[in-house]
Symmetry: C2
Subunit: 633 residues, 2 copies
């Protein structure tokens, strides 16, 4: 199968289009101001100034994180997508001015990293553990591929190709090296996708194959150098997934963002090369995440230490790290797996992340962001006591280490890419977004009531009258019998396999496929292996995970219980930030407050009507407790 | 009321005498070897070597923690108590040899601290925040008072008095100073108790009054010095209780051991001076602990960060710090409160600590110790993942920072002091230990089945035929109507006030008082304000808190539920480490294991017979899960 490119898809979705507008109208312009240090009171970024200094356009010192360059790259990438979604010649012009600076900052040999160029030119490539050079260049490659795809202009692409050429000269059989933070692999594979040049695939394969081949590499590197950036421990080989060759890895370990960026590249590389070892490793790693290391919201990286995966089933809700960027990386990994092999469980997982723990990272004003996406917050403890200092109960503004907001921006603006895969004789529909896709086999127009309604209508316009399959994702929360398909108004009984309904027919101009499936609220239970959720239930409806907030349910959410058998009422909200969403109301119990710390009488219980709202919207209505899981009784 | 001294009491208690034997036979000799660096494989202590070097008896460098001297002091104090409990001329001789070295290490001006004497003599008294000089000297004063009380020999007492004189010369109105770790106040008050010299009380009052008077003191001190030991933040004035004058403090804050050492001194000083402000502050701080900051086991200092109190009701079981030393300090604080004012709640709290979270610190072999006393452990997570690294699921051997083992030793060996207070016309019995006390009003001999049986017999031999009151603690878990008292075989109806049964009569030689009260197992519930215990119950019987261990209940303790109304069966154990204890058996439920992380079906439940064992014995039968609180259902 071939990945579908963004320019094949136009989104007009009642759920996502407003998000895209918010990003284009608010997030990107705000980030642009940040990059230019034009937001009074915001932490200094200096990211563009670093490029200007490295380009010799102005005098000054490097300022910011060692990976500050990636902020510019991610903004450029998102800006490219934005131009496709919301054409804007002025933005295009400003972005081109940035690209001009980036080009000038590139060194004659193709090297491009402002930290080392300005600050420590003598230390180039000597601290791969901490230096983030390959990480930043990988992001610039992604930006270049996006810019080229959308605008057809190749200035940044040529920068990226010179970069790739330089990297190929530095690393290889004669000089071993792997990045301390994966991303170059993805960047090279994107370059390969847009140019078709095998050398980029080869270089990506080099980095994939090299990882874990010499587990002591970072230790040796550290022994050779007399400088340090973070004083990072090279012995923690799990942190950057260098503990074993990638084909031998079975458990998702270490820094979650690093991990899923690697896994995505492994999946893309497996697709490009047919490498079975990589494909099998990807499957095992996906299983590790999905079956043992993922929150019900799709969030990953539960450890508050080093933004990492923890042990199997260790998924504390109130101490979650669950970084927005990790979930975004997981969306991309899942999409790459779908391009590799159609398995509806990947689409389920992608949905779970998209509708819950990715967009929960952004306030609906587009100006406040969570890095950490907990499943339970308790103001007074969250953000304040040991083990929870990283868990903020409200979204703060832009951070200096601004990885998550631009990452969200690029995910949201490029979402059109995620909904489709296309094979020789099959069109796969992974996500039910309102959109029109220009595919090789057909134009497919989709109208969708998703995620609030299980009603989707597809209109298929084949390039020519031809027999091929339309493979429609059957959400994993459904019984496949409940997935009803009408083709041109007639019941259609395709084959359901691995989570897809295969509709095999000879298609004619204007054929319609209407899907309807029930989105009934449901209770979800964690395995007892998961200490944090035992005895509790969460509520879901369609792809949406719900949570309980203090503003709807009063204080002391921990005192509330769901009644196991009570009917769950669906309420279509009409006002405020909840407008247009379906919230849930259900009978429950409240245990009485007491100032007696330990008592021989259990707390008295009284009836309570509970309200659950979509998790992704939590924290948009003031400070208060929040929790996804409630006790049942 | 006057505190009762150890030499007035002989213990012959079926519960505690074996502990005293274990300490005298095993813990103290082992610690003695440690102090002498004679245990192969153990971390180097060097504590006695430091004294020898400071004494000029040998050459070398200081080694160990800055407070290493206190190990020797605590050993000497415990050795003194041991000589009372188990006379041992050889031990006495060896301890005297140590005292000789300590005396020689004292400087001509009375200063005694081997760290500064050997290593940084120019920095004496310049780093009170970190230096621990007053802490170590306070412990040496406690040792001196104990040694003098038990042996009547005053060599160490004279060392202590010279120390006190030196300190009085250094600190006072002309030079402000307070210790970064409280203890000198207790030491000085002990010196005052055994010598009656008001100057020691005055100096203790100086340090109490000075604390919090200049909240910026440690900051100013740090600004003055150009050296550091721990790089401790002087801004954290809660850590060492210097955020406010002690009479204005209402919430137990900061490092829990520091806090309760301070509070004990405040209570002792309030008793010695009649200071109402101190007494009221002690009451408020006691309420803060008992009502909002104490685990059901009596443990305190719940935060894994800085061994500190956390916020009200923040009492996580699996991330508890709950340091053994903090509970020991709380026992002493409670005893001092009982000497100040008879309130049965202090005796309840003392019992709760004594029978649960103090002795849980020691393995029944006397060779392995917990600093941290969690209420829940999950091997694989405990001690291994973020937020739980400090929570070990098994007791390790002796630590280099050996504060808790010798502290336990001195508490256990001096327990006789804790059971009694005596006023002009009242004898208070706080603890039902098998013992004989030689008090001013009478000799009282006690036979006790406690804590397993609610049967206690007291035989009173008054010094002269005289009317006075015997005030008998009515445990807080009883209805006072269930506390039955026979005097010379006849039902006796005294007055119950503030948790004491006052038996007012003219006593004759050989009068007997027989107490009987039911020790029925009971369920305990935490307030819903406590996030960690909500929906759960713990089991208690008499003063004993119970826990569930994997060895009795199988794995996945989190899958177990107690049935709320099921009868609790009491089982008198006859074998192994549990022999002689009462364990509990109760019907419960087990939720089925599943490898499905999130499921729409709740886990199936099946009947299970559950066994609970005394918490203090946990971890004596191999590695496995443990938890005090189980869900109810």
């Amino acid at each position: 199968m071939k990945p579908v490119s963004l320019k094949q898809v136009r989104l007009h979705d009642s759920f996502w289009s407003p998000y895209q507008k918010l990003v284009s109208d608010t997030v990107l312009p705000y980030q642009e101001k940040i990059l230019n240090d034009e937001v009074p009171g915001a932490e200094k970024s200096h990211a563009l100034a670093n490029f200007r200094i490295a380009a010799g356009l102005e005098q000054g010192e490097f300022y910011g994180m060692v990976f500050q360059d990636s902020d510019v790259a991610k903004w450029l990438e998102a800006a490219a997508y934005s131009l496709w979604v919301h054409p804007d010649p002025a933005l295009e012009q400003r972005a081109e001015a940035v690209i001009d600076i980036v080009e000038k900052a590139q060194q004659p040999d193709g090297y491009l990293d402002t930290y080392f160029t300005i600050k420590e030119p003598e230390h180039r490539w000597q601290n791969l553990l901490e230096g983030h050079e390959l990480y930043c260049m990988g992001h610039m490659m992604e930006a270049a591929a996006a810019w080229y795809e959308v605008t057809g202009k190749d200035k940044l692409l040529r920068v990226a190709e010179r970069m790739a050429g330089h990297i190929a000269n530095v690393f290889g059989p004669d000089r071993y090296g792997i990045p301390g933070h994966e991303e170059i692999e993805v960047g090279l594979l994107r370059l390969y996708q847009v140019t078709g040049k095998a050398s980029y695939l080869d270089l990506a394969m080099y980095f994939l194959n090299a990882r874990g081949e010499r587990p002591d590499f970072f230790k040796e590197e550290k022994a050779r150098r007399d400088f340090s950036i973070f004083d990072m421990a090279p012995a923690n080989t799990a942190y950057n997934q260098s503990f074993a060759p990638v084909r031998e890895q079975s458990s998702a370990e270490g820094h979650a963002v690093r991990a899923v960026y690697l896994y995505r590249a492994m999946a893309d590389a497996a697709g490009a090369t047919g490498d079975e070892g990589l494909r099998k490793a990807c499957r095992r790693l996906m299983d590790s995440i999905r079956n043992r290391k993922m929150y019900v919201t799709g969030a990953i990286g539960s450890s508050g230490e080093l933004e990492s995966f923890s042990k199997d089933y260790d998924l504390p809700g109130d101490r979650a790290y669950a970084e927005t960027c990790a979930q975004i990386g997981l969306v991309f990994f899942a999409k790459s797996m779908l391009d590799l092999e159609p398995d509806g469980r990947y689409a389920d997982l992608m949905e779970r992340c998209l509708y819950n723990s990715t967009i929960s990272g952004m306030q609906m004003d587009g100006k406040h962001f969570f890095y950490v996406n907990p499943l339970e917050t308790n103001p007074g403890l969250s953000g304040e006591v040991f083990g929870m200092r990283h868990v903020l109960p409200e979204r703060p503004g832009w951070y200096q280490c601004a990885c998550c907001p631009p990452n969200l921006a690029r995910m949201i603006l490029s979402l059109g890419r995620c909904g489709w895969s296309e094979g020789e004789d099959t069109i796969f529909v992974h996500l039910y977004l309102g959109q029109t896709a220009e595919l090789a086999l057909a134009r497919v127009a989709v109208e969708s009531g998703y995620p609030w309604e299980g009603k989707v209508k597809l209109t298929v316009t084949p390039r020519e009258r031809k027999r091929f399959m339309l493979a429609l994702h059957v959400p994993g929360y459904l019984n496949s019998a409940d997935f009803q398909v009408l083709c041109n108004g007639q019941p259609s009984d395709g084959v359901v396999e691995m989570g897809y309904f295969y509709l095999d027919r000879t298609w004619s101009h204007g054929d319609t496929v209407e899907l309807s499936f029930p989105l009934k609220p449901r209770r979800v239970y964690g395995t007892v292996r998961c200490l944090d959720t035992v005895g509790k239930a969460a509520l879901e409806r369609g792809p949406i995970v719900y949570c309980f907030e203090e503003t709807d349910n009063g204080s002391q959410l921990q005192a509330l219980l769901l009644r196991r058998d009570a009917a769950i009422e669906e309420v279509l909200e009409t006002g405020g930030v909840l407008a247009g969403t379906v919230t849930l109301a259900v009978d429950g119990l409240r245990e009485a407050d007491s100032d007696i710390l330990y008592d021989t009488k259990p707390p008295a219980r009284s009836a309570a009507r509970l309200k659950a709202v979509p998790y992704y919207l939590w924290g948009n209505r003031g400070l208060g407790q929040m929790r996804v899981w409630l006790r049942e009784g």
